[in-house]
């Protein structure tokens, strides 16, 4: 390979490396054919560069571009959404690789790389993404340094190191901008739309859904209580309320005409702040029974669940106040009653008949409820994480056949048995319990805490929570679900809860994540105003922002200025040179300049012509200097002489 060829290859490798790193976080959601196409083009391009193959011509490239756009529209059904847009960006960067020749083409690719980094943050802002993106930004900037140079000798450039040093200098300025650049209260255009599949509770529940979720140790949300947290048995986090049953699975159902029944809150409230991880759903989670929450964020629907206007795609923080003791809905409207008694015709006939018989033999609704719970407790029902699959009539199959289930199965069966006996009932999905993080002093609620229970309406007490799981596995409710399986099944992370050291490490790491959410992702207008208050601004307005931002930037740039001046400061070089420079600068102050191109000796002769009085000294200094500089072994005596002469030299 010629040296020019090698240069091209080097630049290509840099750019491609940066681009692939920027694509890294997107591999999770890009369709495989997009990833495959990009990788194939990269490989082909590298080979083409090495073997000196010809690049495809403009018509072929245009054809590929059209085909790729069409494929994105077909595959993603849009090119404007986040998924489609990212896929298009990735594919276009691959196409650009097919015509990369000039430095300009390379810089376009590097800019695309930075956009891909931004897109990665639109998907997730967690520590892992940040930890990936930061080196990627570094790599891309280093690539820009590499492709923007013109000189032949790039060996002294050390792009990665140089860029690293510059990023280090940029960091304080970036921090000041981050802290004081005013955030928007709303948004310029529509809400973000990341169509990402997230695991978590949804508005639908089929048998086995919750036990699948339980295998997932991912954090659902974290809660910080302003007082003492409620006891474990009261930690019921209400999520989607499921009122529609199709015989197999439950869903939320659509009930526009139902009004929310009034709630009487009793006793002491619990105040807390929830930091919710992205769910892709519209519900928020709150302790039963929630009374107030961050205003404007959500509204409470007729089933007491909190719903937001848009699906939650970013980390969301909200305050809430709940009353563990409450009395909800002393009366029930006809529409709500109908919905809460709905059963699909002809499905689960054995269960329906069993319910009617059992209700007939029970004196009241309360005794009937107790009888059903006793059934779960006393007969051979098993609480298991890995229940067998159920047939189409899921309740019949569960009650009379498999008899092995997780909380979802029990809640489903219980609710169906209530409805069949004429008691309004519904399934509530949510989370129960949580891990207390002693290091950060907050509660971690994970997907593995997902739970389902029932809510029944009784004329004397309104909507009441009944948790059939508490009947079959009471320790699940009291001490967390691990204890329900002791000595039995192996739990996800079950080992880790045995090891104290490991458990502590997990808690510290979770604390770091919580701080990250709190300080970085959730840093908003309110946090900024709080910061300005601590800086001494009584009533922070845009002027305060401008003042602090301007002053901070000035400070940052001044810091940068001195940093660079220090880096570029003259090294203590040859002492003879320093003495001679002093001599020249003294003459310059008297208007005698040493122009470019004049040798020291000529300079000295000129001084003698201009200032005969200085001539002898100037010649002596110059000759001594030249001896020190150009003789093979400069003598220490000459250096002393030169210093003495320069010290006394006073034009």
């Amino acid at each position: 390979m010629s040296s020019e060829h090698k240069e091209n290859f080097r630049r290509l490798a840099w750019t491609m490396g940066g681009l692939l790193a920027a694509l890294g976080p997107h591999l999770l959601h890009l369709k495989p054919w997009v990833t495959g196409f990009v990788l194939a083009v990269c490989a082909w391009r590298l080979l083409a560069e090495r073997r000196e193959w010809r690049m495809p011509g403009t018509p072929l490239r245009a054809l590929i571009a059209l085909g790729v756009t069409a494929a994105v529209i077909l595959g993603y059904s849009t090119i404007t959404g986040l998924d489609g847009g990212t896929a298009l960006l990735a594919l276009m960067s691959a196409l650009k690789l097919l015509e990369t020749r000039t430095a300009r083409d390379h810089t376009v690719l590097i800019f695309i790389g930075w956009f891909l980094c931004l897109a990665a943050f639109l998907y997730a802002q967690d520590i892992a993404t940040a930890a990936w993106v930061l080196p990627t930004v570094w790599l891309l900037a280093a690539a820009l340094l590499e492709v923007s140079r013109h000189g032949q000798d790039g060996s002294s450039l050390r792009p990665f190191r140089t860029t690293g040093a510059m990023l280090l200098k940029a960091a304080p300025i970036a921090l000041i901008l981050f802290l004081f650049f005013p955030r928007l209260a709303g948004s310029f255009w529509g809400a973000p739309s990341a169509e990402r599949a997230l695991s978590g509770l949804t508005d639908e529940m089929s048998p086995g859904d919750i036990s699948d979720l339980t295998l997932n140790d991912i954090v659902a949300f974290r809660v910080r209580f302003s007082g003492d947290p409620p006891p474990p048995a009261l930690r019921y986090w209400r999520g989607p309320v499921l009122s529609e049953f199709d015989g197999y699975s439950w869903s939320r159902g659509d009930a526009q005409s139902i009004y929310r029944p009034p709630v009487d809150h009793v006793g002491a409230p619990v105040d807390y702040t929830v930091t919710l991880e992205p769910t892709g759903q519209q519900m928020l989670f709150a302790l039963d029974m929630v009374e107030r929450w961050t205003p404007g964020l959500a509204r409470q629907s007729w089933d007491f669940g909190l719903r937001t206007r848009y699906p939650v795609h970013t980390v969301l923080r909200y305050d809430a106040r709940s009353y563990p003791r409450y009395r909800a809905g002393s009366e029930i409207s006809k529409a709500l009653q109908n919905l809460s008694l709905q059963l699909p015709r002809g499905r689960n006939p054995r269960a329906a008949e069993f319910a009617r018989n059992l209700r007939a033999s029970s004196g009241s609704d309360s005794t009937y409820i107790q009888a059903v719970l006793d059934l779960f407790r006393k007969q051979d029902f098993y609480y298991t994480l890995t229940p067998p699959g159920l047939e189409r009539d899921s309740v019949d199959d569960f009650l009379f056949n498999t008899r092995q289930g997780f909380c979802g199965h029990y809640a489903s069966a219980f609710t169906m048995l209530m409805r069949a006996a004429g008691i309004p009932a519904r399934v509530v999905a949510g989370y129960q319990g949580g891990d207390w993080n002693p290091i950060g002093g907050y509660l971690i609620v994970r997907q593995s805490h997902a739970h389902a229970w029932s809510e029944v309406w009784l004329a004397d007490s309104g909507w009441r929570r009944v948790d059939p799981t508490a009947a079959i596995a009471p320790e699940r409710i009291e001490r967390g679900f691990e204890s329900a399986f002791q000595g039995g099944e192996l739990l996800p992370g079950g080992l880790m809860r045995d090891s104290n050291f490991w458990w502590q490490a997990v808690m510290i790491w979770d604390n770091v994540n919580e701080r990250w959410n709190d300080w970085v992702i959730q840093f908003d207008r309110a946090s900024q105003e709080e910061l300005l208050l601590t800086l001494g601004f009584d009533d922070p307005d845009w002027r305060a922002f401008g003042l602090v931002l301007g002053a901070g930037l000035a400070l940052g740039i001044a810091l940068l200025f001195f940093w660079l001046a220090w880096e570029f400061r003259p090294r203590r070089g040859d002492p003879a040179v320093r003495s001679y420079r002093r001599f020249v600068s003294r003459l310059e102050r008297r208007g005698i300049e040493s122009p470019v191109g004049e040798a020291p000796r000529d300079f000295a002769l000129r001084i003698r012509r201009l200032r005969p009085d200085l001539g002898v000294t100037a010649l002596a200094i110059t000759e001594t200097y030249l001896r020190l500089r150009y003789l093979p072994a400069p003598s220490a005596g000459d250096l002393r002489l030169l210093r003495g002469l320069v010290a006394r030299f006073d034009p």
Partner: protein, 298 residues
């Protein structure tokens, strides 16, 4: 000549403007989606741009440029001006582009405390002096987002020799021979070897020397008639002074090539015969200076 703060200008390049637009788009997107990490990324890149601007400026600051000699050309050829760039600072100065007029040279890098020399080529039109009055030292390092530059006026003079006449009559045999001796053709004493020219008698070719190297050399003997000619402007034919100087230049170049000792006589100037490169330089310089037109300033 040191590049001081006041001499250095800086502006964003086209790439820098594009970078700014990209940052603006990223800012809008991040603000709209209230994406703090996106904002962080945008601000980090913006700060990187600021640092790059400062570094670009610093890359030139306190750099010392000085002339490091010239190579006088014959009229019509390029004059070469060597500029030494000295870096008194403790950080390397990368990608320095030095240019005179329109021809930027390949960028050079000057190590911390080091020095690099660049050669600037300037085309010449006529005999006399060419003065390099304006050089631009520029840099786009790092990233090419900004371009800093400084214009220096070093006023470096370079002689331009008259172009040797393409066809010139041989110098007159009697052209004043130095030392008063009479030109006498003879084969008396071996004096040395010179390059072969068509017309040299074959019997004088040094075959032994030819066997050792590829050059055809001819034995020379002192007492050759043109051994020590002194070229006189009065002897040179030509329509005008320039043409006659060209003829003189041709004689000098040829005489030097043959390794002959030669001298030069111009009105008011007498250079006694000597051999060698220094003599050639002296004689050609005398020709360049003789009644020279006003210097060309570039």
């Amino acid at each position: 000549m040191a590049l001081s703060r006041g001499r250095i200008y800086i502006l964003p390049t086209g790439l820098g403007v594009a970078f700014g637009l990209m940052l603006f788009a990223m800012l809008l997107g991040s603000l709209n989606y209230a994406n703090n990490m996106g904002l962080g990324l945008t601000f980090l890149l913006a700060a990187l741009g600021l640092v790059a601007m400062q570094a670009c400026h610093r890359n030139l600051e306190t750099l010392i440029a000085r002339g490091a000699g010239t190579e006088p050309p014959f009229a019509g050829k390029d004059a070469i001006f060597r500029i030494a760039l000295a870096n008194p600072g403790g950080a390397p100065r990368c990608e320095l582009e030095t240019s005179a007029g329109v021809s930027p040279e390949l960028p050079v890098t000057v190590a911390a405390g080091g020095e690099s020399t660049v050669s600037l080529r300037l085309p010449t039109r006529r005999r006399g002096t060419i003065v390099l009055d304006s050089i631009e030292i520029a840099t786009r390092f790092p990233y090419g987002l900004f371009r800093a530059w400084a214009v220096l006026h070093p006023a470096i003079h370079c002689l331009v020799y008259p172009q040797p006449a393409a066809e010139a009559p041989p110098p007159p045999l009697a052209a004043g021979v130095a030392g008063g001796g009479t030109a006498r053709r003879g084969d008396d004493d071996f004096a040395g070897l010179k390059n072969y020219h068509p017309g040299d008698p074959p019997r004088r070719i040094a075959w032994k020397a030819f066997a050792r190297s590829d050059e055809i050399l001819v034995k020379e003997f002192s007492g050759d008639a043109e051994a020590t000619p002194v070229f006189d402007l009065a002897d040179a034919p030509g329509a005008d002074l320039e043409a006659r100087l060209s003829v003189l230049a041709r004689w000098i170049v040829d005489a030097h090539a043959r390794g002959v000792t030669f001298g030069l006589r111009l009105p008011g100037i007498e250079l006694t015969p000597e051999p060698g490169d220094a003599q050639r330089r002296r004689c050609l310089a005398a020709l360049a200076r003789y009644q020279a037109p006003d210097p060309d300033v570039v």
